[in-house]
């Protein structure tokens, strides 16, 4: 009998010790650490493509293929986004009907600030993207919001990106559990498979950058938003970050979310943060 009690006590003690040893690891694995995630993310791409210059990742498929890069460099002499850029500059400078302008809504008059978007708004408790901030600015000044996916919104963001060209992406995550949750939610969205094709964003842009999918060369996820907005030949026009997310979802045969849905805002936050330090290259041009 004593032997049996000793055996039971011994087993319970061993189980408790195992639990104590294992628990810090469980906590560590669940801890949200954006800085560590960004470091691992960047290192993955730097090691996978040791011949690509770090600042070149923001040029998407052109960083992966020398022939395409040469063609793109020639195209940049008369870039297809130029009309949108000119239109955006004019729109940005044109006052609203109440006499105010976009410059009144942004720090530094909206010039050279693209690299700080999206940001986490602690008052609202949510991520605010540049597109969202622009429409909020319009609405606050009595104007109708623009479509999030193209035309005027693409022109405005093209101009604002252009004023930030070369500046390193600089996204902050405040010490706020809601901001950390938004980052984690964005990360989850990025890696989650969806649609009938059972693809996640990472299936193409982490596992297969540089590979062909039909006629296209897949861009690396690192720095993929630094070039936004983009002129896509496939679209025969400009498209915003929202448009990129919506079309990616459709291509996997998933019903896209509404532009500026929390998930899209959060994944933009995640992707922008892990590209911190890489230069803004938008507006871009893509096949």
């Amino acid at each position: 009998m004593k032997a049996r009690i000793a055996l039971v006590l011994g087993s319970v003690s061993a189980a408790l010790v195992a639990l104590i040893i294992a628990s810090p690891r469980v906590i560590a694995a669940d801890k949200i650490d954006p800085a560590a995630d960004a470091k691992a993310f960047q290192n993955f791409f730097f090691q996978k493509f040791p011949d690509v210059k770090r600042e070149d990742f923001v040029n998407g498929p052109y960083s992966m293929n020398a022939d395409m890069k040469r063609q793109w460099q020639e195209k940049e002499e008369f870039p297809p986004y130029e009309f949108a850029l000119d239109a955006g500059k004019e729109m940005f400078a044109t006052p609203f009907r109440n006499g105010k302008s976009y410059a009144d809504c942004f720090p530094n008059g909206g010039i050279g600030i693209r690299q700080n978007y999206p940001y986490f708004d602690e008052k609202e408790g949510k991520v605010v993207t540049l597109e969202l901030a622009l429409n909020r600015c319009r609405e606050a000044n009595g104007e109708q919001p623009y479509s999030y996916v193209k035309d005027e919104m693409a022109s405005l963001t093209a101009y604002m990106a252009f004023t930030s060209r070369g500046k390193p992406m600089d996204i902050r995550i405040p010490d706020d559990p809601r901001a950390l949750a938004a980052f984690e939610n964005g990360k989850r969205y990025f890696y989650t498979r969806r649609g009938q094709m059972n693809f996640s964003c990472a299936s193409c842009h982490v596992q297969s950058p540089g590979e062909r999918i039909r006629a296209e060369i897949l861009a690396p996820a690192l720095g993929i938003l630094n070039a936004m907005p983009i002129y896509r030949s496939e679209w025969s026009g400009m498209g915003t970050t929202s448009r990129r997310f919506v079309t990616c979802n459709s291509q996997t045969r998933a019903v896209p979310l509404e532009p500026q849905a929390d998930e899209y805002r959060d994944v933009e936050y995640f992707l922008s943060y892990v590209a911190n330090g890489l230069p803004i290259s938008g507006p871009g041009a893509r096949p």
Partner: protein
């Protein structure tokens, strides 16, 4: 005996389409089930475009009175919706396997 076998086969073949033909009630039951599964998938923010297309095809066929086709499309929609629900459930944890660490 030799003559009765082909006759029986002919009879069976002629009756088969009638036996498998779906009616409006079959379609309505299939569509209701598909719609419920589709709503569940949409609630999980994981609707598939092909589910929506199959549901629309079912409705179109039913509007045209083709309940066979309508029922088949509705059943396909239900299967697709259930697959998307399974995907959403399994990805709650499975996404971590893809994460860069």
């Amino acid at each position: 005996m030799k003559r009765s076998l082909p006759l029986a086969m002919l009879l069976a073949l002629s009756l088969a389409p009638a036996a498998s033909a779906a009616n409006e009630a079959d379609y309505k039951a299939a569509y209701t089930a598909a719609e419920a599964a589709s709503r569940e998938a949409a609630g999980m923010r994981n609707q598939w475009t092909v589910t929506v297309s199959a549901l629309a095809a079912a409705k179109r066929a039913a509007d045209g009175g083709d309940f066979d086709r309508a029922t088949t499309a509705a059943k396909e929609a239900e299967a697709l919706a259930k697959a998307s629900i399974f995907q959403a459930m399994s990805e709650k944890e499975a996404w971590k396997a893809m994460e860069i660490r």
